[in-house]
């Protein structure tokens, strides 16, 4: 029982393991392609979002630059004529509410600076004071010429956005527009201050969906301008952040982006994978990026996979249970079959034991050489033969029970038993009649037996026999074979009290009787051709000088060769009686 259990377990395990491997391969390939697909889409989508953000920021930057540049002509005019430049500054602040302060700086050699008693140059400052705008001249100790918003554009001779600075608790960024003379030298500068929030809010409010990742921006000094972790803003640089989080790819990507590149790429940050999309913001000198963790990108897929795996596990549990039960039944059936086969094997031995197996059969007689062979198609069969010698008379029987297997073997056993139980005074007809009546009684399955029962007088060679529906005997004389004519009778078992008729003939010394069942003539080869009685007779014709054993061995070999490995469909029985 334990053995059956372990076999069932093993078989169930193997089936489940096989299904799991197949499922694993399928799900892995599905995941791989699904992830690849979603990654490709994410690259495109994130890049589009980054572009959108960058353009929003560029729009904001350009609108401020335009706002300032639009006042250049008026300022040039005022500066040339010595009018109140404060008017230009007031107008600028009035028109653009984003600006909190406006400055106009004059180089030392500008006539207005000299006129106003500031030969070292001077700076006007316009700022909001409640609802009004105040304009003052900055004190000399301000040293505006060495401040970055003035000094840098003067030297690079183009617009400049400063790095943000903290001023009175606010984060301020300045845009400076140098006014150049015909020689390309700066003679004045117009600059505006605005809260950094004007720019960064453009980015922070753009993406609100958490699943879309997070937005960050890095300024030209490498410092974060926007980051979900506020501690990073104006504190960390992309280099310090990368190095503290072991993210060399992120560092390299930022370097590339700040040098003007844009694109998307995977970076590792703090042991996690992120897809980063980045774009350079011209003019401002910033980079804008969107980062999304790889796990967030594939979370839907992984969630689906999780459900699939859970379903799979439940299915596998059910399958294992069903498989276990099925395999247990199958194993039980196999055990029953094995037991049955074992019993059939025993039955085969018993059946074969009922047949004479030692030749010449005792008691030996100098006038006779008998040999017989029976090869059942299954473990047990319905063919039979028997011989015995009493008072110089050889009694013999050969028969073939209809059907095959166990039922046929039982009828065969009955037939042989009846044959053996006959008085030697009984003629073959009496023997057949008795067997017929016994078999026919209560023959609900309508089984029947074809047989020949014969009696050979070994002194005279007189042969009397009764053929109950069996193939005719062959008489082998030197170099010839012929069928022994006989009166037809019904096979036994079909009709009780059937009047069987006797056949009688005399055979000469040296002649042989060859008896066989239809399994010989009906043996098939792989092409479904039959061996036929003619082939048997033809073979026997060549073997008339052989002993009974040699004759039967040769026929057996020929039938086997003819069959060429084709399944044996019927029992084969051959008996040879050589009268000497």
């Amino acid at each position: 029982m334990d053995k059956i259990k372990s076999m069932a377990m093993r078989a169930s395990f193997m089936v489940v393991a096989f299904v799991t491997i197949i499922f694993g391969i399928l799900i892995s390939s599905n995941i791989y392609f699904a992830i690849r697909d979603i990654e490709e889409k994410e690259h495109v989508q994130m890049y589009a979002e980054t572009k959108y953000l960058a353009y929003r920021l560029i729009n904001q930057v350009q609108s401020i630059e335009s706002s300032v540049e639009a006042h250049e002509q008026a300022l040039r005019h005022y500066l040339r004529d010595g009018d109140d430049v404060g008017e230009v500054m007031r107008d600028l602040l009035r028109r653009d509410k984003r600006l909190i302060e406006c400055n106009v700086g004059l180089e030392p050699d500008h006539f207005l600076a000299k006129t106003l008693g500031n030969p070292e140059g001077l700076m006007y400052r316009a700022y909001r004071e409640g609802d009004s705008i105040a304009v003052v001249i900055k004190p000399n100790d301000y040293h505006f010429q060495v401040q970055s918003f003035y000094f840098i554009p003067k030297h690079i001779k183009r617009n400049y956005w400063t790095e943000p600075v903290m001023s009175n608790g606010a984060r301020i960024i300045t845009f400076s527009h140098p006014l150049l003379d015909n020689d390309g030298r700066m003679f004045a500068l117009l600059s505006v201050d605005l809260p950094l929030e004007v720019l960064v809010d453009t980015l922070q409010t753009a993406i609100k969906d958490d699943n879309a990742g997070f937005v960050y921006a890095i300024g030209k000094s490498g410092r974060y301008m926007v980051h979900p972790n506020n501690d990073f803003v104006l504190n960390e640089t992309f280099v310090t952040n990368s190095r503290e989080h072991d993210a060399p790819k992120f560092e390299a990507m930022c370097r590339k982006a700040l040098a003007g590149a844009s694109g998307t790429q995977y970076v590792e940050y703090g042991g996690k994978n992120f897809l980063d999309s980045y774009m350079y913001v011209n003019g401002l000198g910033w980079m804008v990026g969107i980062a999304k963790s790889w796990s967030a990108i594939v979370s839907d897929i992984l969630k689906g996979v999780g459900y699939s795996i859970l379903t799979f596990i439940v299915c596998m549990a059910l399958l294992t249970l069903v498989m276990y039960k099925l395999m247990k039944q199958l194993t039980n059936m196999t055990a029953v079959k094995e037991s049955f086969e074992k019993e059939l094997f025993i039955a085969h031995d018993i059946q074969m034991g009922m047949l004479p197996r030692i030749f010449p059969a005792p008691p030996a007689h100098p006038n006779i050489d008998v040999f017989a062979y029976l090869n059942p198609a299954k473990e047990v069969g319905g063919d039979l033969y028997d011989i015995f010698l009493k008072k110089d008379k050889l009694h013999f029987i050969i028969g073939d029970v209809s059907g095959k297997g166990v039922p046929a073997s039982l009828v065969m056993a009955i037939t042989i038993s009846l044959f053996r139980s006959m008085d030697n005074a009984c003629s073959p007809v009496e023997v057949v009649t008795r067997i017929n009546n016994s078999v026919a009684a209560n023959n609900e399955r309508n089984m029947f037996v074809t047989l020949i029962v014969g009696e050979l007088d070994l002194e005279t060679g007189h042969l009397c026999f009764c053929n109950a529906g069996h193939d005719p005997m062959l008489l082998l004389t030197e170099g010839s074979v012929e069928r022994i004519p006989m009166l037809p009778n019904l096979p036994v078992g079909l009709m009780e009290d059937f009047p069987y008729r006797m056949n009688e003939t005399d055979i000469k010394k040296g002649e042989r009787l060859l008896l066989y069942t239809d399994g010989v003539a009906e043996a098939e080869n792989p092409d479904k051709n039959l061996y036929t009685i003619e082939r048997l007779m033809s073979l026997a014709e060549k073997l008339t000088d052989r002993s009974s054993r040699e004759l039967i061995d040769s026929i057996q070999t020929d039938v086997t060769n003819f069959a060429s490995g084709a399944d044996q469909s019927d029992d084969i029985t051959i008996m040879a009686i050589h009268y000497m």
């Binding site: 040293h143 000094f151 690079i156």
Partner: protein, 323 residues
């Protein structure tokens, strides 16, 4: 009754005044250490000594004040608003030349941290000849003259604010940087410093010791026990910072948060390490003393490049612990 009331008020006022005077002697009014730059790892030893209570252990009330870009450390000492200041050896020497009787009570940095950096290659100091070099306000003029002394034709030196921003914007070509601050700040902003574009000032024979702690000679003479206690606690602070670098940097960062300065752990920890390197003198260990050799270095610098200053300061006058 009225007389009694007046006498009582006068008596109470007298008691209050005496109590106030006594409290100063009992150190209830703190002594001020004013640093010559904002709170950063450059002054880690003092921050640690203050935060870990090493000054308190010496029964020394010390208030740490950091440069606010308005008040100069030397001026603070001169005005008596600070009893101790940090400054460079050359600045202190010039102040002494200019008549402020200050003395060095502790020398921390024993090497010159300056280099000159250009966007272009600098094969030798000669490549600086005739160039415009932009320095921050407070950069010691003696170095400008000394470096010019090594050039076939002098460089032009200008003072600006936000030197690094101007350099990154390529508005200027040559700037000075210190190894513990500007150099790492530039690298941390993504700028790649090439060795070929850099000249160390020490390679020009100008390896002048830098930061030290100074007080006035009068204060030293009248409060020697206070100075000694201050130095003991400060050294303990520096030593603690060397043994506990992460904890010390966290104290520095906390100070920076308090003053709304940028807070960058990576930057401060690198600065702290570099400062610790500069603390070591020729023996390879921090001595916290000003050697005569180091003093002679700055004296010779002023003798040679000090615009004809004839006055010679004696080592023992400048470094009173030898008296």
């Amino acid at each position: 009754m009225k007389k009694f009331l007046i006498i009582s008020v006068l008596f109470a006022s007298l008691v209050t005044m005496i109590a106030f005077a006594v409290s100063r002697d009992s150190h209830h009014v703190p002594y001020v250490l004013y640093t010559h730059w904002t709170a950063q790892s450059q002054f880690g030893g003092y921050i640690v000594a203050s935060e870990k209570g090493f000054y308190r252990d010496e029964k020394l009330p010390i208030a740490l004040h950091f440069d606010d870009s308005v008040h100069n450390a030397i001026d603070m000492l001169r005005s008596g608003k600070a009893q101790f200041v940090t400054t460079t050896l050359s600045n202190a020497y010039r102040a002494r030349l200019e008549g402020l009787k200050l003395v060095n009570v502790m020398q921390t940095m024993h090497h010159c941290s300056y280099s000159l950096l250009s966007h272009n290659k600098l094969k030798s100091a000669k490549d600086l000849a005739g160039k415009d070099i932009y320095v921050w306000h407070g950069f010691d003029e003696i170095f400008c003259r000394a470096i010019n002394g090594h050039l076939p034709s002098p460089a032009r030196w200008h003072q600006i604010f936000t030197v690094l921003e101007a350099f990154r914007a390529r508005a200027v070509d040559v700037i000075p940087i210190t190894c513990y601050n500007e150099q790492s700040e530039l690298e941390e902003s993504g700028y790649e410093i090439k060795a070929d574009n850099l000249i160390k000032v020490s390679d020009l024979g100008l390896d002048i010791a830098e930061d030290g702690v100074y007080c006035t000679e009068d204060f030293f003479n009248s409060h020697r026990d206070v100075v000694e206690a201050f130095i003991r606690a400060s050294i303990k602070g520096w030593q603690y910072s060397m043994d506990n670098i992460e904890e010390s940097v966290q104290m520095v960062l906390e100070k920076r948060r308090k003053f709304s300065l940028s807070v960058n752990h990576y930057h401060e920890i690198n600065m702290m390490r570099e400062i610790h390197r500069l603390l070591k003198d020729e023996s390879g260990t921090p001595s916290f003393t000003l050697s005569e050799n180091e003093f002679n270095g700055v004296r010779d610098l002023y003798r040679k490049y000090g615009n004809g200053t004839a006055q010679i300061i004696d080592y023992k006058e400048f470094y009173p612990w030898t008296r």
